[in-house]
């Protein structure tokens, strides 16, 4: 989780683009954390020193650790400890992938990791939430909803995206999560949940993402538009079904209306009077805009 939010931090600082982030996430699956990267993380070497050793490696047929010891930058015990950590460490995969793909140098990685850990513009509570990786806390720390059930809604949606669609969803941290405008050139699957207050739930995405996620959820090709629509609405219906059961266990009763599809606009006035929110969730398969209103 630390990894993912380090990625968001890089995105917010415009050091990488959304496209870069998607490539990084793909690359991460096969990324092996290098000893130099770990040495930076552990404070044993600087980014400049790691880059020097990498340069040396091009002319000498020796391992990174051996050269670092020869240069007196680390000792044998430290190398062994780094090798041990190499097999345990997963927090640095994103940074490693960003370097491997040429989006960052080791020097930049060193600088940005320190910045991120010291002060990334996050409050202590926000940083703590990011470090522990608690989805609900992250949503609570970053988004100011007027309806308290929305916190649980977003956390559950992230878990359901991981369960059914994509291993690496991440929320784009924005200054405001207020709903801005009707999604143009997009497909929106939506469903109303009724209790004392009507809740609008919608997931909007571009046509390409819509088709890709539909096939992923259906676990079959969905060339037929109607089948793609049925797949995405079923995902929303399933998610809302689980949400409704969770709420019912807390004595909050919701009735679900059948889900529907709207193209290039939202349905009517969304039939709500309270706050309207838009949360952009990126996945390696494309962006999902979650729209919540009550």
């Amino acid at each position: 989780m630390f990894d993912k939010f380090f990625g968001i931090y890089l995105l917010n600082k415009k050091l990488i683009s959304n496209e870069d982030m998607q490539k990084i996430l793909h690359h991460m699956k096969s990324t092996h954390i290098k000893i130099g990267t770990l040495a930076i993380k552990e404070g044993l070497m600087t980014g400049t020193q790691v880059e020097e050793i990498n340069l040396l490696q091009r002319s000498k047929d020796k391992k990174f650790g051996e050269l670092a010891i020869e240069k007196g930058l680390i000792n044998q015990n430290q190398l062994e400890s780094l090798l041990q950590k190499q097999s345990e460490e997963s927090n640095l995969q994103l940074g490693q992938a960003a370097v491997d793909l040429g989006y960052l140098t080791y020097k930049q990685l060193d600088h940005e990791l320190k910045n991120f850990q010291n002060d990334a513009g996050f409050s202590n509570a926000q940083l703590e939430a990011l470090k522990t990786g608690d989805q609900e806390q992250i949503v609570r720390q970053f988004i100011d909803f007027d309806n308290p059930v929305f916190y649980e809604y977003v956390s559950l949606l992230l878990r359901n995206i991981i369960r059914f669609l994509d291993q690496h969803p991440w929320i784009e941290i924005e200054e405001s999560f207020q709903f801005q405008k009707d999604p143009a050139e997009e497909v929106t699957a939506y469903q109303y949940l009724d209790n004392e207050q009507k809740i609008f739930t919608g997931i909007a995405m571009d046509e390409k993402t819509f088709k890709t996620l539909a096939a992923q959820f259906a676990k079959m090709p969905v060339e037929d538009d109607r089948l793609a629509e049925a797949s995405i609405t079923e995902f929303l219906n399933l998610h809302n079904g689980i949400f409704t059961v969770n709420m019912s266990n807390q004595d909050k009763k919701f009735e679900m209306s059948p889900p529907d599809i709207s193209r290039n606009k939202l349905p009517g006035d969304m039939e709500v009077t309270g706050g309207k929110y838009q949360i952009d969730i990126n996945t390696s398969l494309g962006k999902i805009k979650l729209i919540l209103a009550s």
Binding site: F164, A218, M220, R226, L227, E229, A230, S231, T233, E234, N237, L238, N240, G241, I242, T244, V245, S248, N249, K253, M256, S257, P258
Partner: protein, 123 residues
């Protein structure tokens, strides 16, 4: 040789209907009828007299619970399995009270669905 088990699937989602169709056709031994709403389901039930009904709870107009009630009025022996993603305690209790024989949680586990339906073969 025993006859195919007649299954009536009632779900407004084309995805669920397609998935059930694929699983049952793959397994063999089933004749499948599809309906997309409660009203249609009751009419098809009367015409085809299926062995089992797979019924969704959340559907437009005539919802699952109302449809179950009507099916039981038509045939009090009707065997109805509820397919649901929103199995709240109240909904499930209500469905049981109305005479549903079982539930299957969405997304459906293929093996579970087949083992549920297998027992109707050779009846």
């Amino acid at each position: 040789m025993s006859e195919d088990v007649k299954i009536l699937v009632c779900d407004d989602s084309m995805l669920i209907r397609t998935q059930v169709q694929n699983v049952l056709t793959g397994a063999g031994g089933y004749e499948i009828f599809h309906t997309t709403n409660g009203e249609e389901a009751v009419k098809t039930y009367q015409k085809e007299k299926p062995d089992v009904v797979l019924l969704d709870l959340v559907m437009p107009e005539v919802g699952g619970l109302e449809c179950l009630k009507q099916l039981k009025e038509v045939d009090k022996e009707a065997r109805v399995i509820i397919m649901t993603s929103s199995g709240t305690k109240e909904n499930l209790q209500e469905a049981l009270k109305l005479g549903a024989i079982d539930f299957i949680q969405k997304p459906m586990d293929e093996d579970k669905l087949l083992s549920m339906l297998e027992k109707f073969k050779g009846r």
